[in-house]
């Protein structure tokens, strides 16, 4: 028949698929056993499943272990200033609404130095996925107490154990105005993690996902009992929540029904973190106002019109 075998010079047509390799850059330099590897893999898988064009995808981060993330993605990335991932990402989304924006931040970057930006980013509700890598410790600088470290955490800053109650990022986010998507998951439950990220990607607005993350080097004693204890996790299940396959759902011992449209109930659920960690979708509101839609209204104006606009502005100062 006709020569159909591709040869050395054949060029693939534009409908070719993106593969996992199209999203992975250099080898990730996190410690072995770190939960961030899992999240990286899950995010790459999400990009591949959704066929996000790498040139139309941006990962923005601040400072910390987690914030090395953009280096390992073969997409656009912005490794920003400490605590300033949110304003950079908001700026990107505001003027380039065609891009897929992801924010990678950590418990120090978001809940400590960047807390002010956190509040306003939630309120702006621009369409992006925010992943809070919460390992409850400053790992990059070798063990200092973070705002989410549990009480009594022994660290270099608190050798006798920390004395302040930790911030609960879920509770804090749920308390902010115009909040539209709040979910929690754990890095050592890959199926749930992936389903949560997928749901967050599909959400129209800012989706805030707190990922409870292991630090095998500095917080080994604190996470190990949780990871190995089947009773330590409760899944929030609902038809509008995170969708898990039956076989994956069966792996959890505790499953509770929670309707993500009920914010009061969501706040209640976020409060109960004493015995078990709830994972799943706490709250979702697809109707919340989006500031990026406002920002995009004047895009596409021609250069002439812009120059004219600048000129008329300048003319006002003419003497």
């Amino acid at each position: 028949m006709i020569a159909l075998k591709p040869d050395f010079c054949d060029v693939s047509l534009p409908d070719a698929n993106y593969s996992m390799e199209d999203y992975s850059s250099s080898k990730a330099r996190w410690c072995s056993g770190c939960g961030a590897h899992t999240i990286l893999h899950s995010v790459q898988k999400l990009c591949q499943e959704e066929q996000l064009p790498p040139e139309k995808t941006v990962f923005v981060s601040g400072i910390g272990c987690s914030s090395r993330f953009p280096h390992y993605m073969k997409t656009y990335g912005f490794h920003g200033l400490h605590g300033r991932a949110f304003p950079v990402a908001s700026g990107v989304k505001f003027r380039r609404p065609d891009l897929h924006v992801f924010v990678v931040t950590g418990d120090g970057d978001c809940c400590s130095i960047g807390a002010g930006h956190w509040v306003h980013a939630i309120r702006y509700n621009m369409n992006m996925v925010v992943m809070l890598f919460d390992n409850s410790i400053y790992g990059l600088t070798k063990k200092q107490t973070s705002p989410t470290s549990p009480m009594g955490t022994v660290s270099n800053t608190h050798p006798a154990g920390s004395i302040l109650p930790p911030i609960n990022p879920i509770q804090a986010t749920l308390g902010l105005p115009n909040v539209s998507f709040v979910a929690q998951t754990a890095d050592w439950k890959p199926a749930h993690l992936h389903a949560t990220l997928k749901k967050a990607y599909e959400h129209p607005g800012l989706s805030f996902v707190r990922i409870v993350q292991r630090c095998p080097i500095w917080m080994k004693d604190s996470y190990e009992p949780t990871v190995k204890d089947p009773d330590a996790i409760t899944v929030l299940d609902h038809e509008n929540g995170i969708h898990l396959e039956d076989k994956d759902l069966k792996k959890f011992r505790h499953v509770t029904n929670h309707d993500p449209s009920d914010i009061l109930k969501a706040r209640e659920m976020a409060e109960v973190v004493k015995e078990t960690t709830p994972i799943g979708l706490f709250y979702q509101n697809k109707e919340a106002s989006r500031y990026d839609e406002y920002g995009a209204h004047n895009l596409g104006i021609s250069t002439e019109d812009r120059i004219a606009a600048v000129n008329s502005l300048m003319d006002r100062y003419a003497i």
Binding site: L13, S32, L40, V227
Partner: protein, 716 residues
């Protein structure tokens, strides 16, 4: 097999059976009947009612497939008339056009921009012009010529002349290719009448219509050679442009390659962008120009030929093929399949989605394609709905559905498909017909839908049959389908019949003349031919199965005999031993000598072996492997529950000899013997997801195994 169907309610068929006639009347009627069978002549032309096939209602499915609408986004709604195949073809071509534009045009534009950028580097003065254009509002303040000198150039050197020439040539070809993907999508060669009609009715708006000349096959062949040449120039330019824009063009390799670039180098997806060439031709024309038709197919050029069969009963006013005693039907599908390289579709109008898919694949295929289509349309000659006529065509094996795709390689069974026919595994489709014999009682009659039943859908054909009043029924009347199966000896004196109804739904048996029977036989022959090459009723398979069954039975019988003989032997030996042992014990008791008793025990245990010393050695030899075999299943190899792996690199970094990632980037153990058991246990202890299960050690000689097994226990 499809379930037997029952005539729908409301279509009550009445069947009146009268007392048999007197033997004299019977004799004279049957004499006339036999004469009719041989000659087809009816002596007495009585006032018989208008009749047609009683079986046509059994073909009805739940719904008529018309008006036919396509899946979701592709909007198409057509009803069944003589334009149906053209409308479907037109729709497929338009869909293809949209797809090509979507897929390829954007990419072309991108490449053109890319090429322009490359060429732009060459054109230095362009920088100044561009700057001026952007900032002309500030031209009094800025010296553009000086500013240009400050702009860093991505490439300082001028392009070599040869490359420049190539880039410009490619750019010109690609720019003109944009037009190729915007206007027409296909070239259609057809007779003048058809071309005029299509233009009037504005069907193939996006196609170029060409009037066929004397030898349209040769014309098509030449047309293809011309068009594919200009198309391969576009693809060549496209490939060069892609390589250039990506900076991957190497003179040493690619110059040579592109110099000898012909359409044979095109890939399947590239060929799919080519505007297909479709030839519309009548069935009768094809057989008049067989030589040039065959030559076109043998050239293996991917042209598409739609053969429209007008020689059918269902086409009003046509001279249809009916009579096999004078000429066998010429089958274009069988002809093209025998060319081996031709995509072949034969289909009627009864299943529009099959037709749509078949035509679509024909246009996609890089093999030459021939679609042989039958036309069924609303027909004033019969009461039956047109789609039922079309279904009758398939069911009566008059126009079977055939699909042959030479590029589905490897297995014949994949390439050839006739399973879309109604009850494709029987000779004729089988149904159950309900008829009321009186007010209360109903009869179920098993019937087969033959070619004669299809023909009898048309009352003008059914008129040729001879109705048999029920007082003349005897066992010599045989249903046509059964008649065709009878041996020659048993045919004597039998008359075949089929079922007809008049307009009041009264059921009749009607004798079928010999001419019809021969034609049915011819259709059945073609059908068996299709079934056999389609893998149904295969002689070799049947024979192989039979011989295999005989072999199996023999083997079972042999094994049974051997086992019986063995057991018989064993039983007799045990009996002998028992007697011997009892006798020895008796002697021992009588003599009260322990020695004899002690010695006697081993000899009895060893199944009467003569030499006790040799037997103990043997026993030891056997016993050692037995112990191992008992332990073997207990060794559980180490494994990873890969679904639960969190890809944290812990095990793969520390023990790369043991742990690898699968395609989902989740860990698994490639070969447990490549590391120590201690390593596996350590990895299991470190695994944050606790998904490594160390099992039991493979190597029993490792140190501290007991402690390790204990540590591993909680992970198993």
């Amino acid at each position: 097999m499809e379930s037997n169907k029952i005539a729908p309610e409301g279509q009550q068929i009445r069947w009146k059976v009268e007392e048999p006639a007197s033997s004299f009347e019977m004799d004279s009627f049957w004499k006339e009947l036999r004469h009719f069978y041989r000659t087809g002549e009816k002596k007495v032309k009585d006032e018989s009612p208008e009749v047609s096939s009683a079986l046509v209602h059994l073909l009805e499915d739940a719904e008529s497939p018309y008006p036919h609408s396509m899946r979701g986004e592709k909007e198409l709604s057509i009803s069944l008339d003589e334009r149906t195949p053209y409308l479907i073809l037109n729709h497929i071509l338009n869909e293809k056009r949209k797809e090509n534009q979507k897929k390829f045009k954007n990419r072309l534009s991108e490449l053109i921009t890319g090429l322009n950028n490359l060429l732009h580097v060459e054109d230095k003065s362009a920088d100044t012009r561009e700057l001026e254009a952007t900032y002309d509002f500030a031209d009094e303040m800025i010296a553009f010529d000086k500013l240009v000198a400050m702009i860093p150039h991505s490439s300082g050197e001028a392009l070599p002349e040869e490359r420049l020439k190539r880039l410009k040539g490619v750019l010109a070809t690609l720019t003109s290719a944009l037009a190729y993907f915007s206007d027409q999508v296909a070239t259609i060669v057809a007779e003048k009448e058809f071309v005029n009609k299509a233009e009037d009715e504005a069907i193939f708006q996006h196609s170029m219509l060409i009037t066929a000349d004397k030898d349209p096959f040769l014309q098509t062949q030449q047309l293809f050679s011309k068009e594919i040449q200009s198309f391969s120039e576009i693809i060549k330019a496209y490939r060069i442009a892609t390589l250039e824009v990506n900076g991957e063009y190497h003179d040493a390799v690619h110059n040579e390659y592109f110099e000898h670039f012909t359409w044979h180098r095109l890939l399947e997806n590239e060929l799919n962008l080519f505007h297909p060439i479709v030839l519309l031709i009548g069935h009768e024309f094809l057989f008049d120009h067989l030589t040039s038709f065959s030559r076109l197919l043998a050239s293996n050029q991917p042209v598409n030929i739609l053969v429209l069969n007008h020689e059918l009963i269902s086409v009003p006013g046509s001279i249809s093929w009916e009579d096999a005693s004078h000429q066998f039907r010429q089958e274009p599908a069988a002809l093209t399949i025998s060319h081996r390289n031709v995509y072949t579709l034969q289909a009627g109008m009864d299943d529009p989605s099959f037709l749509y898919k078949g035509l679509e694949n024909c246009l996609k295929s890089v093999a030459p394609g021939v679609c042989h289509l039958s036309l069924s349309m609303d027909d004033s000659r019969t009461e039956a709905a047109s789609y039922l006529i079309a279904r009758g065509e398939t069911a009566g094996r008059y126009f079977p559905k055939i699909l042959y795709d030479p590029l589905l390689d490897k297995e014949w069974s994949e390439r050839f498909d006739m399973s879309q026919n109604i009850q494709s595994d029987t000779k004729w489709p089988l149904y159950s017909m309900r008829a009321s014999t009186s007010e209360e009682t109903e009869a179920m009659i098993d019937v087969a839908f033959t070619y004669a039943d299809y023909k009898a859908i048309f009352p003008e054909k059914a008129e040729e049959l001879m109705l048999i009043p029920s007082q003349y029924y005897t066992e010599h009347l045989v249903p046509l389908a059964d008649y065709l199966e009878l041996d020659e000896e048993r045919l004597y004196g039998k008359i075949p019949f089929i079922w007809l109804v008049d307009l009041q739904m009264n059921l009749y048996r009607a004798a079928v003349p010999n001419v019809w029977v021969v034609s049915c036989q011819e259709r059945l022959d073609f059908w068996s031919f299709l079934q056999e090459i389609g893998g149904i009723n295969k002689h070799h398979t049947r024979q192989a199965l039979e011989s295999r069954e005989v072999d199996m039975q023999k083997m079972v019988a042999d094994t049974k005999a051997t086992i019986e003989a063995e057991y018989q032997q064993k039983i007799s030996r045990i009996e002998e031993e028992a007697v011997g042992k009892a006798a020895e014990q008796l002697i021992a008791v009588l003599l009260d000598e322990e020695d004899i008793q002690v010695n006697s025990i081993p000899s009895t245990q060893e199944d009467g072996d003569a030499e006790p010393s040799a037997s103990t050695e043997e026993k030891e030899e056997i016993s050692t492997p037995v112990v191992e075999r008992e332990e073997a299943p207990a060794i559980e190899e180490a494994w990873v529950e890969s679904d639960d792996c969190t890809t944290c690199n812990e095990c793969t970094d520390k023990f790369p000899n043991l742990f690898k990632y699968n395609d989902d980037k989740q860990a698994y153990i490639e070969d447990a013997s490549k590391g120590t058991y201690a390593e596996i246990v350590k990895a299991a202890e470190n695994c944050p997801a606790a998904c490594i299960h160390p099992g039991l050690p493979l190597n029993q000689n490792e140190p501290n195994l007991d402690a390790l097994i204990k540590r591993a226990e909680k992970f198993n």
